[in-house]
């Protein structure tokens, strides 16, 4: 009986140690998943910052650093502008530029330029594209103040650049 009692003690202790080891394994797995999520957020954020800096410094958009030219913005917002930009900046991102002039938003096209105040690039909201529907709740955005130079009126207005990045599918 005593031998059996001793054996039971060892069995119980072993069982307990196994439980603790399984708990440690679960905890480490959870920690790795948590870390990976954090790294993904960081990578998305760095990508947003890179795209925003590109818009501010590239001669495709800017006359000088942080001063966007509305004629260049309008030219690139039409036709194959988005595809050209995807070739440079990759996929799954979008950018919007709005002039803060207290009037209603008017999207700039070749027909209404310069009487407009909004440009968008690679905005994923077409009916045929389900990405916005799937990811709109999870995309991240950063906003930056910008100057928009309007050669037609020879004036510089204050605006906002919003860059959004969609998580990978």
């Amino acid at each position: 009986m005593r031998a059996q009692s001793n054996m039971m003690e060892y069995v119980l202790m072993t069982f307990f140690i196994v439980i603790v080891l399984i708990a440690i394994i679960f905890f480490l797995t959870f920690f790795q998943v948590f870390q990976a999520g954090g790294e993904q957020q960081k990578a998305l954020f760095n990508r947003q910052l890179f795209i925003a800096k590109y818009f501010l410094a590239s001669p495709l958009f800017a006359e000088e650093n942080s001063v966007l030219d509305d004629a260049r913005l309008t030219a690139l917002s039409e036709g194959d502008g988005c595809e050209e930009l995807k070739g440079i900046l990759g996929i799954d991102w979008s950018a919007e530029i709005t002039v803060l002039d207290d009037s209603r938003r008017i999207t700039c096209t070749g027909f209404n330029y310069p009487d407009c105040n909004y440009w968008s690039y690679c905005l994923q909201n077409s009916i045929g594209d389900n990405i916005a529907g799937r990811h709109s709740a999870r995309n991240q955005s950063i906003v930056l103040p910008v100057s928009v130079f309007r050669p037609a009126g020879e004036r510089t207005d204050i605006g906002v650049l919003k860059v959004s990045v969609y998580p990978p599918r």
């Binding site: 920690f31 910052l49 803060l100 950063i142 204050i158």
Partner: protein
């Protein structure tokens, strides 16, 4: 002997729990969150540049852009940008406050302060637009507790008989500590 064995087992169990807890604390301390300092510094810098470069709508050379208004407010605050309108000091205050209110809707809960002073010249004369509490000494406890983002730009103007003069414009941004909006004032 059985009593000692039971006690040994209990000590072993407690030891395992302590090791497990220590491991958890160590791993959690290694986890890092990304900070947005680079983004917020870029935001502050762009905000200052965008506000200074913005056109005001006045054709007077001393009031065309916000930078001109700021210089006018410093040197000749009673100068009128048009025949019947307010003085450039008042327009500068209202224009900057208006722009900052728009950005407050976009990026909430940030206090701001614009400080205009001469560069490389010690002067008591300063213009402050915004929350004056932000212009505090870093050794001050209340100041150190709030993370501030400070950016500067230079404005070159001529004063008096075409004497070039450089003004330093500083923008200080800090996360708002309470829900109440700070008083905006021109000092």
């Amino acid at each position: 002997m059985e009593n000692l064995k039971a006690q040994t087992t209990m000590v072993l169990v407690i030891l395992v729990i302590i090791i497990f807890t220590g491991l958890a604390v160590f791993l959690l301390s290694l986890s890092s969150t990304f900070n947005q300092d680079e983004y917020l510094n870029l935001y502050a810098s762009n905000l200052l540049l965008a506000v200074l470069r913005a056109d005001t709508g006045y054709s007077d050379a001393d009031c065309r852009q916000v930078a001109d208004l700021v210089a006018c407010a410093y040197f000749v605050p009673t100068h009128r940008c048009d025949l019947t309108g307010p003085a450039c000091g008042d327009i500068a205050n209202a224009t900057i406050a208006g722009h900052m209110e728009r950005f407050d809707l976009i990026r909430k809960n940030f206090d701001y302060l614009f400080v205009v002073e001469p560069k490389d010249f010690i002067s008591q004369t300063q213009i402050k637009i915004g929350n004056p509490d932000l212009d505090c000494d870093i050794s001050d406890k209340g100041c150190a507790s709030r993370q501030r983002f400070v950016v500067e730009e230079k404005i070159q103007k001529t004063a008096g008989r075409s004497v070039p003069f450089i003004l330093n414009v500083r923008l200080i941004l800090a996360r708002r500590s309470s829900a109440s909006r700070p008083p905006r004032q021109l000092v």
